[in-house]
Symmetry: C2
Subunit: 282 residues, 2 copies
C-alpha cells in the first residue's frame, strides 16, 4: 500500500521508523504532474533502495512573481496512480503552509552558480530550489536523492550545496527522458499548442546540430552557438532566452570544446519557457 | 580516551558508528579557548546524551574583515585537558581548508533576525554562524546541540533556522555563566587590560539596574535604556554599540515591558566588544 503523507512530522516519523529497521531510503523530489522523466527516477530509486519516497510540492519559493506558479499543472490523483505503479512507497505531499509557515525566514543559497544561465533569467529561482530541497532532505532523512539531468544547472547546484554543507546523503542524476521527436519530457510541455509542440522539437535538434558540428571538428563555442541560433530562429514561435557552452563540472565558460562540456539552452516557445541540454566529451 | 578528530569524514564515521550502536549524540559547538560557559554545555551534554562531541573551530565566515579573526585566542592543548575533564568523548577540530575548501560557495541565512542588533554592527556575521553550524550538524549528525544564552541572538537565529529547515535535531540553550563580579564568561575577556576588566562588570550591572527598575514598575523601554546608558557611560573605557529591549521569542521591538522580554547590549570596552543579556518576565 502506497502511503500519502501530508504532515512533515508524519513524514519524518515514517522515515525514522524505516531507518530504525535498517532500511535505506531514496527520495525523488518532484513538483508533480508526473511524466516518464520523473518515473525513471522512481524506478531507479526502487531498484537501488529499500524505501522510495516521492515528494510532490509545487514550491512557491522557486517561482518568480511573473512566473507560472498558479497555472503550473497539477493532478494528484493521476500522479498517485503513476507513482504507485512505479513502486513508490510513500508520497510526501505537504501544503505550502506546512512548508513555509507564517514567519518563515531561512534560505540556503549557492553563490555564483545560481546567478548564471537560468539564474540570470530567473533571479531567486535556485535559492528557492536549494532551500526547499534542504527541507525535504531533512524531513525525509534520505540516503540517496534522485534528480534529472534535464535540469542540469539545478542538479549541479544541488550537488555543490550537498557537498559544501557536508550533507549525509548522495545525489544521483539520471539521464533526460525524451519524446519520440527528441523533446525533453517536462510538465510544462502541457502548455504548448499543437503548432508550438511541433516547433519545440527544435531545442533538441539544435543540441544535436552542435554535437554533429563538434564531431566534424568545429570547436569554437561562438560558432556553434550561432549555428544553433540560426536553426532555432527558423521556428516562428521560438524566442531564445540563452544558449551557452560551459564546463560540465562547474558551469565555467569554455574557450574551446575540450573535456566534458555542457551545452545548455532555454527557449521560449510561445509563452512557454523550455530548457534542454547535452553533455559532450570533446 | 577522548578522541581528537580533524577530518570531517572521520568525524562523520565516528558518529555513524555511534548511531548504528543506538547511541545518542550531543554536540557542543565552540571556537575553543574554553571557559566555564563552554564547560557547562559539555557537562549538560554528558548528563543528557550517550556521546558528547565538542567542536573547536574558529570560523572565518563569521568574522568581518576588520574583526579579530587572527588574534582570536587559541589554546588547543589546554582546551583538550578541560574537555577531557568535562567528559567529552571526541573533539572535532577541523582545518579551515577542510571546512571551506577551494571553490566553496554555499551559505545558509535567516532573514530579518540576522540584520538587527549584533547583525547591524557585524554584517554577514550570523550568515557565517548559521552556515558553519549547518555543516557541523551534518558532519556530527547529532541529536541535540548545546548553545549558551550569552549569545542570545545567535541561539534564537539557530533555533529559527533549525525549525525552518526541518532539521532532525533539538537545540538546547543553557544559562549564562558569570564571573564573581557578574561579567559574562567569554573567550574575548582575555583581551581586557586589568582596568578594562574592572570596567567590564558594568555590562551586567546595567542589566541588573534595568531589572530592578522594572521590578519597581518602570515599564518604558526608552527610559530603561537611557538609565542603562547613563550607568555605562560612567566608565571611561566603555563605548556603547547598542542597548535594546525586545520580545524574547522573536527579537521584535516592544513598546512596554510585558511578557518575556530580552534586554541585550553590546559595549566596547577599549578595543574589545563585549555582549550580555538578561531575560525578564515583565
Amino acid at each position: 500500500m502506497m502511503k500519502l503523507i501530508r504532515d512533515p512530522r508524519q513524514m519524518h516519523l515514517f522515515s525514522a521508523k524505516a531507518r530504525r529497521a535498517g532500511r535505506t531510503i531514496g527520495l525523488v523530489p518532484t513538483m508533480g504532474y508526473l511524466h516518464e522523466g520523473h518515473l525513471s527516477l522512481a524506478h531507479r530509486a526502487r531498484r537501488d533502495m529499500d524505501i522510495t519516497v516521492m515528494s510532490i510540492f509545487v514550491n512557491p519559493a522557486q517561482f518568480g512573481p511573473k512566473e507560472d506558479l498558479k497555472k503550473y499543472p497539477r493532478d494528484l490523483k493521476h500522479d498517485m496512480k503513476l507513482a504507485k505503479d512505479a513502486g513508490v512507497d510513500a508520497i510526501f505531499y505537504p501544503s505550502t503552509e506546512a512548508m513555509y509557515p507564517d514567519g518563515y525566514k531561512t534560505y540556503v543559497g549557492v553563490r555564483e552558480l545560481s546567478d548564471i544561465l537560468c539564474g540570470r533569467s530567473r533571479p531567486g529561482h535556485f535559492t528557492g530550489v536549494t532551500t526547499v530541497v534542504v527541507k525535504l532532505f531533512n524531513i525525509v532523512e534520505c540516503d540517496v536523492v534522485y534528480f534529472g539531468q534535464k535540469d542540469a544547472q539545478q542538479a549541479l547546484i544541488i550537488k555543490k550545496m550537498a557537498a559544501d554543507l557536508n550533507m549525509p546523503l548522495k545525489i544521483k542524476v539520471m539521464p533526460i527522458i525524451r519524446e519520440k521527436d527528441g523533446l525533453a519530457m517536462s510538465s510544462r510541455n502541457k502548455y504548448l499548442s499543437p503548432g508550438e509542440r511541433r516547433d519545440a522539437a527544435v531545442l533538441h535538434k539544435a543540441l544535436l546540430l552542435a554535437k554533429s558540428l563538434i564531431r566534424r571538428g568545429r570547436k569554437a563555442p561562438a560558432y556553434l552557438v550561432s549555428r544553433m541560433k540560426d536553426l532555432i530562429r527558423k521556428k516562428k514561435s521560438a524566442r531564445i532566452d540563452y544558449i551557452d557552452i560551459v564546463d560540465a563540472r562547474d558551469l565555467s565558460p569554455v574557450k574551446s570544446i575540450k573535456g566534458k562540456v555542457l551545452i545548455l539552452l532555454a527557449v521560449w516557445i510561445g509563452k512557454t519557457r523550455l530548457i534542454d541540454n547535452i553533455i559532450i566529451n570533446g
